[in-house]
């Protein structure tokens, strides 16, 4: 039966995450934005332990679970709802919780039991992007060559979240660049492995507390068993496509989570803007039709409508994942919409609150800085539009680029 309200158990997750966000993240959000580069913020250490104990690590992208037969509201929906709340508190801090890296999610999804055992408790980053390729994940230039019992990695990675503070990194590399997508595999590299170095930690506009590092692999040797998934390169065109499709599918589960970050930041901005405006007697009541309202009310209604639309798209994509319904199109839809809406809302909230919005006295300006990357990373707006378009039009990536 059609119901778009959250059930109690999801609301519980929401409430707990909100408490964490309001109690721990919000009060220190400005401080760490100012500090920018630092060790793992000490306030986050107990948070990481708590979440690990609660089994939240790597749960992103986990499937349904719970609910017995029939429809399920599981890990994906919990993830989306929890992420929204935490990002509401501070998206940068959420991305800095030790043990909750994107690498952890990958290990949890496709790691072998041994890998899960060994790396599951570490703080694992993910390194995909390279200087020469942005959203083009198939153009990975980093190579992995098997020499005896070791893989030898060479190449450069950028924009690896938590790669400086993390204990290990999941690295995408190609076994054979002449083959393309199908030869791309991921590898586990522990911090301190000779040949891997952090080139720099980026200075960024937003998400400043979150470390974004560039890594260099210079004959970096790792044990043979540190490859994730099947070490063979598929030998038919069909199988190769499928193999890379499998890699890309992991994004189907993470895109709604990034959309959720956008939702959280945007809602934070909208709520704060409303608070500030209420003090000046602007109190939207939904009691006049749109064009009979004041300009400020109309702006707030528009933002609220766009935010709610993005939220429902994101919940739908998560709900599909929980219920094992292929959701590649919907995952991109929610990421595209939430990304652009999040950026629009946060920027607009700064504007409608004038000097109060632009000031560092409030967090609105920070939200407007943080939100921008959420329309870029994990696939830009344009990449999401491409994916949606290919689904809707029935096109291959060759026809529509």
């Amino acid at each position: 039966m059609i119901n778009l309200e959250l059930p109690q158990k999801v609301k519980n997750t929401q409430m707990m995450s909100h408490q964490l966000a309001a109690g721990v993240f919000r009060p220190i959000a400005r401080k760490y934005d100012k500090i920018e580069h630092c060790e793992i913020p000490k306030e986050l250490v107990p948070v990481g332990k708590m979440l690990a104990a609660a089994g939240s690590g790597g749960k992103l992208g986990a499937d349904g679970g719970g609910g017995g037969e029939g429809v399920k509201n599981g890990g994906n929906m919990m993830g989306v709802v929890g992420t929204t709340e935490m990002a509401w508190g501070c998206c940068g801090l959420m991305l800095s919780i030790p043990g909750m890296g994107l690498g952890n999610a990958a290990i949890s999804a496709v790691g072998s039991p041994e890998q899960k055992e060994k790396f599951g408790k570490l703080y694992c980053a993910m390194a995909i992007t390279e200087p020469g390729c942005g959203s083009d994940s198939a153009a990975v230039q980093t190579t992995a060559v098997l020499e005896g019992d070791e893989w030898v990695l060479n190449g450069e990675k950028i924009f690896a979240t938590a790669a400086d503070r993390g204990d290990a990194v999941v690295v995408w590399a190609s076994l054979d660049k002449t083959i393309g997508k199908a030869a791309i595999k991921s590898f586990l590299v522990e911090k301190g492995t000779p040949g891997m170095s952090v080139v720099r930690v980026e200075d960024k506009m937003g998400l400043r507390v979150s470390d974004t590092a560039a890594l260099l692999f210079d004959n970096c040797r790792i044990p043979k068993e540190n490859i994730m998934g099947n070490p063979e390169i598929a030998d038919t065109e069909e199988a190769r496509k499928k193999a890379f499709g499998g890699v890309m599918q992991t994004f189907d589960n993470t895109r709604p989570q990034v959309a959720a970050m956008s939702l959280g930041v945007a809602r934070a901005a909208l709520e704060l803007a409303k608070e500030l405006l209420e003090k000046e007697s602007v109190c939207p009541q939904y009691n006049k039709s749109f064009f009979n309202s004041t300009a400020l009310e109309a702006e707030l209604y528009k933002m609220e409508a766009e935010l709610e639309a993005s939220r429902l798209l994101t919940l739908k994509a998560a709900w599909m994942a929980d219920n094992k319904i292929p959701n590649s199109k919907e995952a991109s839809m929610c990421k595209a919409k939430a990304g652009r809406v999040g950026n629009y809302i946060t920027l607009r909230c700064v504007e409608i609150c004038g000097s109060l919005g632009y000031s560092e006295d409030a967090l609105l300006e920070k939200f407007a800085r943080d939100s921008k990357i959420l329309d870029i990373f994990e696939g830009t707006q344009q990449i999401q539009q491409l994916i949606v378009a290919r689904h809707v039009l029935g096109k291959s990536s060759r026809d529509l680029k």
Binding site: M1, I2, N3, L4, E5, L6, P7, Q8, V10, G67, V71, K72, N73, M77, Y286, N287, K288, S289, F290, F291, N292, Y301, K302, E304, A305, E306, E308, A309, S310, L312, L313, L315, K316, W319, K329, E330, M333, A336, K337, Q382, Q385, L386, V388, A389, R390, V392, L393, G394, K395, D399, L400
Partner: protein, 372 residues
């Protein structure tokens, strides 16, 4: 409506009953509605037998109590909303026309007394298409449903109505018109019956929704009895509920229409070749289509949520309001982009996109129709 007793999961699946109803409605929409859509637009009228065909779907009858000639099924805003989406995909005008009696029925079921239901619904509950309709809007650019110029004055003989109503669907054929008016400082509603004295009905012409039949209804000292007043001082007429349920219905029809746009342009842009390739290989075309698909899904979910809350007896004013804000904006965007994607061809009446452009412009305007 069922109160939310149990802790429902987030779910987008239809009930078995809804699924079956949808299947037959979609079939009806494809076969009977879409096929006459263009013709009806050109004629500014529906074929003579169309509405009687819709009456056989029994939509208006469904929730009327059995003792008044209906099927006595539970009143379901959600199912009505789905019907509007399905019919709207075939044709927005015909969808709104088909649902006009149901709008009237729903308001009386929600807010009418038992005796009013008996009196006014019994005559609607027929296997032929019988019309009741709602007269809410007034000919004003800044129209606001809670601030009306139409007045009702209490006299010994009853209420005397004066004012001008606009965009009243199917008024000419209506057995009963529910006129919303200002009475003693509050918004109230009165059922005015066919042929009442001082009641003048005149066809209005609009940019779109041409086959729907929208009328100017003028009331000049029209007297109705006390019993014609829906709601009273102790249970005042809830005009906001009418507006909100109407917005849900209208938006659902618009979502259906937008889906029709998308379904039409996809094969078109895939087949149309320019500069040596299908135009859908160009990002400007493909992204426009992608955004259409995304926004349709977004609109649909907004409308579903509002309807589902109404169904469950939860508050739904804000949800309906926001759905309307979004749909008024995005539906028109889809309407204009539908034409754009067909280029010059889209501007001709050989293709339906120009009609959808005109019909979708109504979404930001119309109120008090398609009350689900």
């Amino acid at each position: 409506m069922t109160a939310q007793a149990i802790d429902l999961l987030f779910d987008l699946n239809l009930t078995e009953e809804q699924r079956i109803t949808r299947e037959s409605l979609i079939r009806f929409s494809n076969v009977e509605v879409q096929s006459i859509s263009r013709l009806s637009d050109e004629d500014g009228a529906v074929p003579a037998d169309f509405y009687d065909k819709t009456a056989q779907l029994g939509l208006s009858l469904l929730s009327i109590p059995e003792e008044f000639g209906g099927a006595g099924m539970p009143r379901s805003p959600l199912s009505n909303m789905l019907s509007l989406e399905d019919l709207g995909k075939g044709d927005m005008s015909l969808a709104l026309g088909t649902m006009t009696p149901l709008s009237f029925v729903n308001v009386l079921l929600d807010q009418g007394s038992e005796s009013q239901q008996e009196k006014y619904l019994s005559e609607i509950a027929d296997e032929k298409f019988k019309v009741g309709t709602i007269a809410l809007m007034e000919p004003k650019a800044t129209f606001e449903a809670t601030e009306l110029d139409t007045t009702a004055d209490k006299t010994d003989a009853g209420y005397i109505l004066n004012g001008e109503k606009s965009m009243v669907a199917l008024a000419e054929d209506a057995l009963s018109i529910l006129v919303v008016a200002q009475c003693d400082g509050v918004i109230s509603a009165f059922v005015v019956e066919r042929g009442a004295e001082g009641l003048a009905i005149q066809k209005e012409e609009f940019m779109g929704l041409r086959p729907l039949g929208l009328y100017r209804v003028t009331l000049t000292n029209t007297l109705v009895s006390d019993s014609a007043r829906v709601g009273g001082s102790d249970n005042p007429f809830d005009v906001q509920r009418v507006v909100d349920l109407g917005n849900i219905g209208l938006c659902a029809a618009a979502v259906g229409c937008c889906q029709a746009v998308l379904d039409y342009v996809v094969p078109y842009v895939n087949e149309r070749v320019a500069f040596g390739e299908p135009i859908s290989n160009r990002q400007s075309v493909a992204f426009m289509v992608a955004d259409m698909a995304t926004e349709i899904e977004a609109m649909r979910l907004m409308v579903y949520r509002a309807a589902s809350r109404a169904e469950q007896g939860l508050g739904f004013h804000k949800e309906a309001y926001l759905a309307k804000v979004l749909v008024a904006d995005k539906a028109m965007e889809i309407g204009t982009n539908g034409v754009q994607l067909l280029g010059g061809h889209g501007f001709t009446r050989e293709h339906p996109v120009e009609m959808w452009y005109r019909n979708l412009r109504s979404v930001g305007i119309l109120q008090g129709v398609a009350v689900v």
